[in-house]
């Protein structure tokens, strides 16, 4: 299961994004400041955008799950139950896990953004897609929900999970780091070595030496962040 990016280029108005690389199984973080092109890349990987130049190939991927930055844009049904069904998931299980039992007849657009994000995240995770794309997944979630999401992501195996985020205050265990800088997608390497190449690592990692980082990551392997 992998994605091959061969000198791709996307141009949207005055904005352009270029890059190459191979995306293998594991959890990838694509980090970059607001407006750098993370959503464009997510749309590209989801197959909703076609690169102007270059090739994008997906091998062994049949099921894609994509949570957009604004989950309300993904709603296509009038009730919460119908919305979960529209993703091919079991409403009873999803509603139980999302703490929304008894609300299946409610309008999904009446949910708060946090509740909606939680609902769609759990729906997508239950579908267990080969490729899971999460665009700014932690925005709008409280601390408890963030931890729960991290736990769920850690439980995923034999699949590709890609997180697109500008926020590194809380993260699951990351296997590979990518950055977008000035319209270029740059592969920084596997963790924890990639931290030394990260242009803007989180403050809590900046002060820790490389040696202690290795210990930290191997200790946390398989656990919550």
């Amino acid at each position: 299961m992998k994605i091959l990016l061969e000198e791709i280029e996307v141009i949207r108005g005055s904005f352009s994004l270029r890059g190459s690389g191979n995306v293998f199984e594991g959890v990838h973080l694509i980090w970059g400041p607001v407006g750098c092109g993370k959503t464009t890349l997510a749309l590209l990987l989801a197959g909703l955008l076609v690169p102007g130049k270059g090739k994008l190939r997906k091998e062994g991927i049949s099921k894609i799950g994509f949570l957009t930055q604004f989950p309300e844009y993904q709603i296509t049904s009038r009730t919460i139950g119908e919305e979960v069904e529209s993703w091919g998931a079991d409403p009873a299980r999803v509603l139980k896990d999302s703490d929304l039992i008894g609300r299946e007849e409610e309008d999904p657009l009446r949910l708060s953004r946090g509740e909606l994000k939680r609902l769609l995240l759990i729906t997508l995770l239950m579908n267990n897609p080969d490729l899971l794309l999460l665009d700014e997944p932690f925005g709008g979630l409280d601390c408890r929900e963030r931890r729960r999401l991290i736990q769920k992501l850690t439980e995923r195996s034999s699949a590709i999970t890609i997180l697109f985020s500008h926020d590194h205050s809380i993260m699951p265990r990351i296997d590979y780091l990518w950055e977008i800088q000035q319209g270029m997608l740059l592969y920084r390497g596997g963790m924890p070595e990639a931290i030394s190449h990260w242009s803007c690592p989180p403050p809590y990692l900046r002060s820790i030496g490389q040696e202690s980082l290795s210990v930290h990551f191997s200790y946390n392997d398989g656990e919550e962040g």
């Binding site: 749309l43 989801a46 197959g47 909703l48 894609i64 799950g65 994509f66 844009y73 993904q74 709603i75 296509t76 049904s77 009038r78 119908e82 529209s86 993703w87 091919g88 309008d107 657009l109």
Partner: protein
């Protein structure tokens, strides 16, 4: 056409002319071909072709029932082309500026604001449709006919809710009636010639109609 006043004047004159006479409708299409540099953009517009299809269908029915369907298609087709062009050329704030310039700061501002909000609502609706289309692709539901009722009701609800939020925002900001605006317009030298040509087509259509 940079000057919104001339553009609106030309569009109104050409629309009336096209409605009145087939010759004027054909001249209008010619006028558009001369002025539009990016013709492909409009020809690639799906709503434009849907609208033309509807006109074609009713034109055909008229032709079969009583004759005159071809004239209907030509006249309404020219108006549809003008409408698509106006919509594409529109820049945010132009309706407000033109309405204030014509009708003043009270009535003009009100009319302009309504027009602005309507056009912006259409633009947002376009974005909503695109997002729903993407969501349906992600869900693997490609049969648009089956999802059409749900999609339409969802769009209606979202639009109503947005209008409600917009009205609340205006009320919250203390909006009651009219407003202050000093419209500014700029134009290129050839635009006067284009406006004059549009008026000439209008008067020709008027003359032809009176002659008949």
């Amino acid at each position: 056409m940079k000057d919104a006043r001339l553009r609106f004047l030309s569009v109104v004159a050409l629309s009336i002319a096209s409605f009145m006479s087939v010759v004027a409708a054909m001249l209008t299409v010619g006028w558009w071909f001369i002025h539009e540099k990016q013709k492909r953009v409009i020809f690639r517009s799906i709503p434009f072709w849907i609208y033309l299809g509807i006109i074609g269908f009713f034109g055909l029915v008229i032709q079969v029932e009583s004759g005159g369907g071809l004239s209907y298609i030509l006249r309404l087709g020219a108006i549809a082309l003008l409408a698509a062009w106006t919509y594409r050329e529109f820049r945010s704030g132009e309706f407000l500026e033109v309405a204030v310039w014509i009708f003043g700061k009270k009535v003009g501002f009100e009319l302009g604001l309504v027009a602005e909000m309507s056009i912006q609502g259409l633009r947002v609706l376009e974005e909503d449709i695109e997002r729903i289309r993407m969501a349906l692709i992600l869900k693997g539901r490609r049969g648009w006919v089956r999802t059409l009722p749900t999609t339409l009701s969802l769009l209606l609800m979202v639009t109503l809710r947005r209008a409600d939020a917009q009205a609340s925002l205006l009320a919250l900001r203390g909006y009651q009636k009219g407003g202050e605006l000093c419209p500014e317009f700029s134009r290129q030298s050839r635009e006067l010639l284009s406006g004059s040509a549009a008026l000439a087509i209008f008067f020709l259509a008027l003359f032809l109609t009176l002659l008949v």
